[in-house]
Point group: C2
Chain length 321, copies 2
């Protein structure tokens, strides 16, 4: 491996409390959310997306956004972000300005997906975000913009990366300091991801932070992370317990599990500042709250560390290969 090309440290934004909780069929109690977010907060994670200011009639799962933000107590060094879909969402965020460090806006790279997701054209979304982003910058909030279906759209198929970069340019011009590229339905492959991020770096310059947001829909989430690392990407988003990700179809897995991401990175000698044991504790608690086994592999198998020198596993009779 061209070791020099791999980042020494990676920033992870944990998005489970937003991306995960919003996709749960049963609404999670605010008390449980606060407890889970605080468990995540003490893992060492540097960025935590805790909720979203969306219409409560559309996403009742996050109707308690304000209460969650008011109640959570997190270490100083954790950057708290919220998703805001529009100017109204930003105004709600402003009301809790002292609780928030970052805002995340979003739109899709395909017309059909954007229409189905937010009932607007890409152009209409861009116009809105061109109002939201400068106001967020003026308020000294770190600004992230996520471009969904950036590696392929379940409705339109292949998405030309020139279109994605053109959207990214407009977002950067409007004030986005960080662009996340979402593989919303797990259509990306590692060859594409590596070449995409190499081109994105050239296209968007060194100033903009580029973030990988991968789903594990077809089991390839961490392979895509590896390809992005090789292209120099050092910022990723993931969900504890493999929660969330707007699974298509039902039963399909969502975001890359933060535990699996952290496990792989640490084993590769890449720093995340996250304590894997504490992270697993948070994921176990989420499993308890949700009352079902979660998709995270490391949560089931335990960290590699636990199997170093321990008398674990094997049944002594089956030929194991």
């Amino acid at each position: 491996m061209s070791d020099l090309a791999l980042p020494l440290e990676v920033k992870i934004r944990e998005v489970g409390p937003r991306d995960g909780f919003q996709n749960e069929p049963e609404i999670i109690a605010t008390d449980d959310k606060v407890r889970l977010i605080e468990l995540l907060g003490r893992t060492g994670v540097c960025r935590l997306e805790v909720t979203s200011f969306v219409r409560p009639d559309v996403i009742p799962q996050l109707a308690d956004a304000r209460e969650v933000l008011e109640r959570i107590e997190l270490p100083e060094e954790v950057c708290i972000s919220v998703l805001v879909p529009n100017e109204r969402g930003l105004e709600s965020a402003f009301e809790l300005r002292d609780r928030i460090d970052e805002v995340n806006v979003f739109l899709s790279a395909s017309e059909t997906h954007n229409q189905k997701n937010v009932n607007r054209s890409i152009q209409e979304s861009l116009h809105e975000l061109e109002r939201v982003l400068p106001r967020a910058c003026d308020a000294n909030l770190h600004t992230e913009a996520t471009i969904s279906v950036a590696f392929g759209c379940p409705y339109e198929g292949d998405v030309p990366r020139e279109r994605v970069f053109a959207i990214a340019h407009k977002l950067v011009e409007a004030g986005a300091e960080e662009i996340a590229f979402g593989d919303t339905t797990g259509m990306a492959n590692p060859r594409q991801v590596r070449s995409f991020f190499e081109a994105a770096r050239v296209e968007l310059g060194e100033e903009v932070e580029l973030t990988g947001h991968f789903h594990n829909t077809r089991g390839q989430g961490l392979a895509n992370v590896l390809a992005a690392l090789e292209a120099g990407v050092s910022s990723f988003e993931s969900s504890f317990g493999e929660l969330g990700g707007c699974p298509v179809p039902p039963g399909a897995t969502g975001n890359v599990a933060t535990e699996d991401l952290v496990s792989m990175l640490h084993e590769m000698g890449i720093e995340t500042r996250i304590d894997l044991d504490l992270l697993l504790e948070a994921a176990r608690e989420a499993q308890r709250v949700l009352g079902r086994p979660l998709g995270s592999h490391t949560l089931t198998a335990g960290p590699v560390e636990w199997h170093r020198g321990a008398a674990a596993g094997g049944n002594g009779v089956h030929p194991a290969s």
Copy 2:
């Protein structure tokens, strides 16, 4: 991606009927095995490990090895392999010589794992295989030797690769044409895998076929495949439906799912000659026979192809990133 370094075509050995079926708590009926193997045989897969000649009192799941081999009808181009643990197993294979193309022998890279797995020291295993391999070669059988826990042992921790290569050398000297390196409990990471296979190629020369056998225990199976591809590896083993793999602990996933592997490779433009739709049909039938959802992601989500231009997924309300 240094595209030139990636192989244009990959050979996959489907090991589910051996590695998967042997790990099922309920013994699968011979009729079902034959049907599933024949479904796999028509996918275009080039290599198929169908059973193992092990002691039926130890592994009753494969007690019907002889009957399975006698009954299955597979296309001419499919290479049929069987696992043989020792000379007695090889003799059983010889009795069905005209039904078999390849034999696979195995041992572990750590003393503790070898002791627990086959109740012998590594030296004792090597002595046995030094009798088995030349006899298999003389019978014109393709010979594969698998080295288990090659990337880390759940009992002994890190395994020095020099020890793995020393074992590999002895196996090659005894007649092994192909060496598979098993990440038996999913302890490998991509950085290690890439550097391991680069060194193995130098150490073992160009003549020996090097095969990657990865488990998805911590979700990193396909990332390890990608790292191996980048090191020039073009031969892999996997299980349809993500069956098998001697999971440690119970509930942990086993081998990389063949569907997920094929999906990723095809999306990357790497040929496998496997028809993914037919493979999914076989995995669905395995799911029906076993009566539980299997771990394969592509089996749940469907191939990327299905989502190109199709009106699939999304619920039109949730912000999907």
